[in-house]
Symmetry: C3
Subunit: 365 residues, 3 copies
């Protein structure tokens, strides 16, 4: 697992690396068995990997139901230490990764005041991260600057002690584990309801321009044949053209509309999002998204077999009354994130086959 000198990222110059497309970068983030060594971009997740993650997440959830199973899980990576380097405040993403670490037994530590401490003393951010990484076996990283996690993964790969890097959100673009947990939520719910994600109709609603989760999810869903995607948003906040071109290249069906009510009855999954007005300039007027909110009367219109998702935090897009409806899956989605992140840590450290073995024993007991 410790790729060391065999790390494929090692042999690429920064100059060359920074000009690669995401698809070209993917093999550089892999370990020898083909699974991710670094988890940096949503493009790493092809269908085979998504199926593996979903399968492991379900097995892990079931194993975790007993004390014996939890002890087995906690032993998986118990000799390892992880650093959670969060330069942006984000309690939910932090806690989800922290709990994922606890589940697989990797000992977590948090960096705080990373800026203060290093900047005061005139240290480069690269040196700071390298110093901190010296004490740990992996880095889970959130950073406001786009591409920062990739830069760190590349930089550490040049050293004698590379460690895997998990991107827990960098800049406006990538938050790969969020997209994977969304896929797992769809897979888990739609498998029971209609046999799988394939051929389903999925609507994204709200601020599709600035939310990175929808962008990543739209790309990952191209791995599921027959899915039709609906982008439901006001013109000012409609999904980026690059995503539509990506879907075109993959011959994926989609519709663009401003009319939320018209699509509700047909959908198998509705993915609500909030207005991301933290990107607005100060004083700018926040968009009124009333037409892009679920309302109690929609419960009757929505298919019985449909599901409602939301990456949270929500505002008024989904009234609290929806929470008790069996179609509301956004709270389960939160917990799925923890399982998916636990699974990715196991895979990074090549411990995932131990899950298969334990699960098989459990089933034959």
């Amino acid at each position: 697992m410790t790729l060391g000198k065999n790390n494929p990222l090692r042999s690429v110059s920064w100059e060359k690396f920074s000009h690669l497309t995401p698809e070209e970068k993917v093999p550089l983030f892999c370990q020898e068995n083909g699974w991710p060594y670094h988890v940096l971009i949503a493009q790493q997740f092809d269908r085979r990997l998504l199926d593996r993650v979903c399968n492991l997440a379900t097995k892990t959830r079931k194993i975790a139901k007993t004390k014996g199973g939890m002890k087995f899980l906690q032993d998986l990576c118990s000799e390892k230490r992880a650093m959670l380097y969060f330069s942006q405040p984000s309690s939910r993403t932090f806690l989800s990764h922290y709990a994922a670490c606890q589940i697989v037994g990797i000992k977590p530590a948090e960096v705080r005041d990373a800026h203060t401490s290093s900047e005061v003393k005139g240290e480069s951010q690269e040196d700071s991260v390298r110093t901190f990484s010296s004490y740990f076996d992996m880095i889970i990283m959130r950073h406001p600057e786009g591409g920062f996690a990739e830069k760190i993964a590349w930089m550490l790969s040049q050293t004698d002690r590379p460690v895997p890097v998990v991107n827990a959100g960098s800049g406006k673009d990538q938050h790969p584990t969020q997209a994977v947990l969304d896929i797992y939520t769809l897979q888990r719910s739609l498998e029971k309801r209609r046999g799988g994600i394939e051929g389903s109709k999925i609507a994204y609603v709200g601020d599709l321009l600035r939310g990175r989760t929808v962008r990543s999810l739209a790309m990952l869903l191209t791995h599921y044949p027959g899915v039709k995607q609906y982008f439901v948003a006001p013109k000012e906040l409609q999904i980026g053209k690059d995503i539509l071109e990506f879907l075109d290249r993959h011959n994926v069906q989609y519709e663009i509309t401003t009319n939320f009510e018209s699509v509700i009855p047909d959908m198998d999954a509705i993915y609500m999002t909030r207005i991301q007005d933290e990107w607005d300039k100060p004083g700018e007027k926040t968009f009124d998204n009333s037409a892009y909110c679920l309302e109690p009367r929609h419960l009757g219109v929505l298919k019985e077999s449909a599901i409602i998702m939301h990456p949270l935090p929500r505002r008024k897009e989904i009234p609290v009354e929806f929470d008790a409806d069996p179609r509301a899956k956004y709270w389960r989605q939160v917990r799925n994130g923890m399982w998916v992140r636990a699974v990715l840590i196991m895979m990074i450290f090549d411990r995932d086959r131990e899950i298969d073995r334990y699960y098989e024993d459990l089933m034959t007991e």
Copy 2:
């Protein structure tokens, strides 16, 4: 233990719940075995429960003396994770609960910047806590708003994944685990000295109006027959009438006085408190409590068998010279808090009988 749909709080509307008296709420916070599922209010602690907690705390302390015993304890709740949600800074209460978690092996995680993170994004506090709770098996919570911990316990009980809530101080009113550790300190010290708490004389001194610890302790001591309580404070900071009425209802003897020196010689326990001037309005003159402080000359007046307590932090109420006196129990009181909190976690997860078994084996070895 996972009460789920059998959770008694589930079947009560918020409207109804919020109009119940504390005594009426008590059964709603219990698990099937009668012990607390949530630890929210001091009124939950009747004599049977107090005796059980004291008994378990003493056993746990003794078990903890060896490495083998510590390993046994650390295994008790080792498959569980706890979230410490402290929106008020309080290192001492935080650390006491954190260490308690470590003792029983429950993996702790801390929420920080809870406000920042959620408020920025326009999320309700209820949604934030529910999100965070998704990753954990219990919540230990401190909050400036009175009743907040109860509100969260009720709210989570309505969901598919209720988790127990321990109130580590909410608002000016409830801090139930503090009251229980005070009882344990009295029980532990007075049992040796005079056979128990029953029939003893206990004085509270200082700011009795604004300190929640004395209010709770005064109520809990009604479970011990024959105790006489002395409220020693200036008129402006004397104990609230509601407490005195409570004592009257329970036929408990008490005295109210401004004369500290006169009561010292008779007391079995003196519970000192500081002036809680953080509740003063800015610019308001802090009360001069010189007449409500222990002074070196009092050491000779105090009974040899008496004890001195203080919830800490102290100011000048107890001079540092007292610390070495065997009657000073305020440092032991601090440590008792850790044991009592560890015990409550075990009880919440129904692991307390394992303590009985281990202890019995230990005694018969």
Copy 3:
């Protein structure tokens, strides 16, 4: 190990203690087996102790290479809890100690907002630390005030529950574990290259006046016969006279120079430091240290067997191009710190002989 009433610090008054020389204090910080109980000052480390620490660090590193070895290590102090009390922000020192705790299995907890929490309520800092210490088995402490860690160690020794204190940097003077990790780095590198530290030539370069690491290292190197020390700095930032007098007393050879280039070719180790301008008064002009920086052309001048060290963080004293050179040991130095700190915790709790036994088994397998 729990020294309790046998704690030698207990029998000394503060008045007397505070007038002792560092050398006179050393025996007061020892446990019965002669190893440190408290780690407070660099003067505690004589040659016998340094050799023991280096030996244990190397064994620990090797044991840590397997999962089985890591589990053995994590069990060493697994029943203990440590408090990391850092009142100064210092992510690197904090994380190094935190990881060291995780390695030997001692459960870490962090104190934050220690000031806020206690000062608001008018508590003395001594009371705060004593309260916090009640929950833990050792304290690892960083504080801006010189001598603070010693004061706390003395204060706790007077109580019924003394716990060991590790000084992780207090004031401008002592940061003993840094000096020990420097020795370990020298020992580990120079042993292979030239058979040991003895008789080597070592240059310190940069701000020797205000950096405490060089001061401590210069003193510790007096335990290695034949070492010649070179103090390379501008006059304004040259090493303190007290250190030179100390070297004189120990008949240690040294040179003082402003000419960095002239010494490079002869050195076995070059210890670079940054300008510590955080001690400058606001508005004061920072010293231009261009003449005290390594430059790419120096790589050819430096001996093949020499090593380059730096306590980090660095600025421009060492260009990034040096990082890939096998003589650059500053990144390894960082990781050595973690091992040395893990070793000191084991020694404090008298678990170090378990390392010897495990290592012997490992070697004879």
